[in-house]
Symmetry: D2
Subunit: 298 residues, 4 copies
């Protein structure tokens, strides 16, 4: 078992840390919310005063933070982990941030002799709680091999996507595509159903033909077609539209930085943004609620 520093105990980070505790690791945790720290401490972790204290002397320092600015703040600069730590834990950043920022941090880390991987996840709070997350990992073979057993304590599928940044790129490519598939499926269902087709029948025909997809076959956006989808409980639960929009924003920005043209991803960004602006709570509904943009008022 290892000593692990864990920084960021939000909706995702807290249950991930909990699974590491359950696996028998020694955990030193930090979060800007003292309450979050206290909660984990009550379950067996050691609460610390800041990120450096959490990571100092650990074998692994895991970060699970909300955005580029916060990750950069923890990692870089005079006050960052890379400058301040006297030992060299393997840095594992599970945050979803831009590949450019990830690469910049990786260079800085390498300069100081740190091993580092990016390991963004998919699976959401449920996956985090159940320890069934997928990790898409960017970094060297060596660092991947070293991290894999620890990641296994929090997830089921651990894939090595390539060099530093490749984990982020893979996640953004995946989520951008899923966002487009969802929106395209929703507009097609609306088109067919508006002409009298039965939602279940149409879904079933498409699911068994060339329009079949994870989205259509498992996450159908039309209410009532599948009993257990967010669509069938007024789009509650699932993967929030606001989070999908965050990933689309990162993906389109990544395409811009890479000089790639992504007209479908860019259209998806615009359409999810439009749906996000239509009602107060629209960002908190599951992303399959993009269906509403294509459904005419009765």
């Amino acid at each position: 078992m290892a000593i692990i520093g864990f920084i960021g105990l939000g909706t995702m980070g807290a249950p991930m840390a909990r699974n590491l505790l359950s696996a028998g690791h020694e955990l030193r945790v930090f979060d800007v919310s003292a309450e979050a720290c206290a909660m984990l401490a009550s379950e067996g972790a050691t609460a610390t005063e800041n990120a450096i204290e959490a990571a100092e002397g650990a074998e692994f320092a895991i970060t699970m933070l909300p955005n580029d600015t916060i990750v950069s703040g923890v990692m870089l600069g005079e006050e960052g982990l890379i400058e301040q730590l006297s030992a060299r834990p393997l840095l594992i950043d599970c945050s979803t941030i831009s590949p450019d920022t990830t690469r910049r941090i990786a260079h800085a880390a390498a300069d100081k002799g740190f091993g580092i991987i990016d390991a963004p996840v998919s699976g959401g709070p449920t996956g985090a709680a159940e320890g069934t997350l997928s990790f898409m990992v960017g970094g060297s073979e060596t660092d991947f091999a070293r991290a894999e057993p620890v990641l296994k304590n929090m997830g089921r599928l651990i894939v090595h996507a390539g060099d530093n940044g490749a984990g982020q790129v893979a996640k953004l490519c995946n989520n951008m595509t899923a966002a487009v598939v969802m929106a395209a499926t929703a507009e097609a269902l609306a088109l067919g159903i508006s002409q009298g087709l039965d939602p279940e029948k149409l879904s079933s025909i498409m699911a068994n033909s060339s329009a079949g997809s994870f989205v259509l076959n498992r996450w159908n956006p039309w209410p009532g077609v599948m009993p257990d989808t967010p669509a069938s409980r007024d789009y509650a639960g699932g993967f929030q539209l606001g989070l999908m929009l965050k990933d689309l924003n990162l993906a389109v920005a990544n395409a811009r930085d890479a000089g790639a043209s992504v007209p479908f991803g860019a259209l998806a960004q615009s359409m999810y943004m439009m749906q996000a602006g239509r009602a107060q709570d629209a960002v908190r509904a599951d992303f399959s609620s993009i269906q509403k943009l294509f459904t005419r008022p009765a």
Copy 2:
């Protein structure tokens, strides 16, 4: 076994007619190409001089024709089947045409006491030859039940989508979605691979996550990822981009007629059209060649 009139012996119609012959039906065939008629006659069908002669006295009259104008010409007007036939075969239109035209023909047929279904197919020339087509059927329960055994001689999956026109609508919804999924998958692969990710690894990550789809998992557009896809043989074979564009055109026109907004389908129409215009033979390549639009010259 039944007496069947079969009108339209092209790339799809000829092998479909052949399977009906093999099943033991008595076939009376017609095509504007005398050669096509002669070929089927040499295999046991009876060649006729026109559509009316082919259909007169038959239990089923099957049409497999290229577009709205030709189907309307055969069915409607003073010289059409509906006006001219003295008996009442069940009309089975396997052509892919606009739902509006299909409904107009169905009304005319019903007025004269004909049973009629629309039964567009998916599966391409290979499916037609092997008798493994899928049929998406629009029409009454009674007519569907009557047609089903005959369709089974030509295909594997026979689905009843709804009333007259619903078969066409289901096919267009399916193909429009597949076209978008293909293009979105292609742009995402190009985005990731341009940043150094391995095509197989990225495909595999996405295929096993929320971006998974029939298109990605079975028809991967990146050359070399799957040995048996069109992409891996320079986009030869498969489903021609020009035919997908025809279906997209029908789908967007159908959306217009239905008052539905289909921004993703419309963008796909524009992008496939752009790719179609880039080279002499671009329309004959498999539709996964939309990949080329997103791949920068080396």
Copy 3:
């Protein structure tokens, strides 16, 4: 002065016919609405029983009709003008229909020795009433020259765009562009104003820079920026969104037939369609009401 058959006395046709009467021409009118005929008859025209009676013996036969099907019905087939008329008036079609239909009619007309031009208009009911319409004309130099004096009685700007169909093409190119410019201007205004910029100041800056356009400088879509625009009277009057959508539909269909990729026109079609579906009366508002699609609820 000439004898003129005038077919189609709707919102546009009636005031156009009135201007021909005022100019001293002898008018024989027909419309499916007997009421519309009676109205014009009370102003000096001769009401007739059908299109053929209106056009027989005239020097000019003018049609102003709502769509392809109706224009084709009046012109083509056994019962159409081209087959039935014993004399040969110059056919002037002022309807906005697809260039393909226009060309098909022109071929049929030429086969029978008719001169024919397409002469779709811009300027709306106000322009029709005031005789200030613009006519975009397709046809031969000779036919254009012959028609010009008559068109001058109904409009101010008469342009010869090219061969038969070119008038329709020019109108569709113009209106498709105007629709995109309006929508793009609206989204930019919404973007700036949502960040605190003053609507008038932002409009003025853009109007005097590279974003300037007829649309921005004369038809500003933001309420209150210009006192006399539809936007400043809750989008009443102006050019109905439903009519712009009809033109966009024709333009996108024309692009499809011409093998041209029009991603911006296609996106505009989708966005105006989306706005059209958002409220009961949305299609009757001025097309600058596309602004509403980009304005977030307060």
Copy 4:
């Protein structure tokens, strides 16, 4: 006359500085290129060793720099102007950067007692050389009034758009719209001309109707229609496509930050990016070369 620190002597900055010299101001210049400094020094400016030295003791400190990172580096942080200067020149940032960065810098400046405005320009190198630039200014009334006379020495139109950041927002709204208008105009011209219409005639019809715009009427993208446009000299000169793409990138990012949906701007970003990737030098051509994306090979 005033003492002015001028930082950034590139394609735009050098001629702007030159105009300030001509107006009689005392100039202290800095650029990372010693050569650029030496050039200005030979014309009467005082070369300095760094930005702080250039700005210290001046009444105005003008920056004209390529991107957010460089402007932030010069302004913010321990080593930045805001922290290091002992006196308080009015800070005038003429760079085009993101409104968010501009606002962040403005807050930092205000905290330390600096006056500051953002004053991005339009008009390009020619406008810079001739002193005919337009300045879109964000900042307080007082700071605007103080800066105006100095800006007048470099430009003709000086507009006050609103608070800090409003200059950037106005410029991005303008350029995003211009980019869409150009692309939409280009696709419409290609559509019409592919059907036989004369480029000049079609342009003239649209220019005098609702499709008229600065872009169409002054910057026509079709070669040969206007003698003096970039299109008529193989797209040389003008406003580089790569620079328009930079502005589109900033505009779409600004929309993302503002929570605004900009489907047309986003599509433009994708289409200009696609054109940028089609050839080695595509980014250096005038942005009207987006025409090439819509023109089919002969």
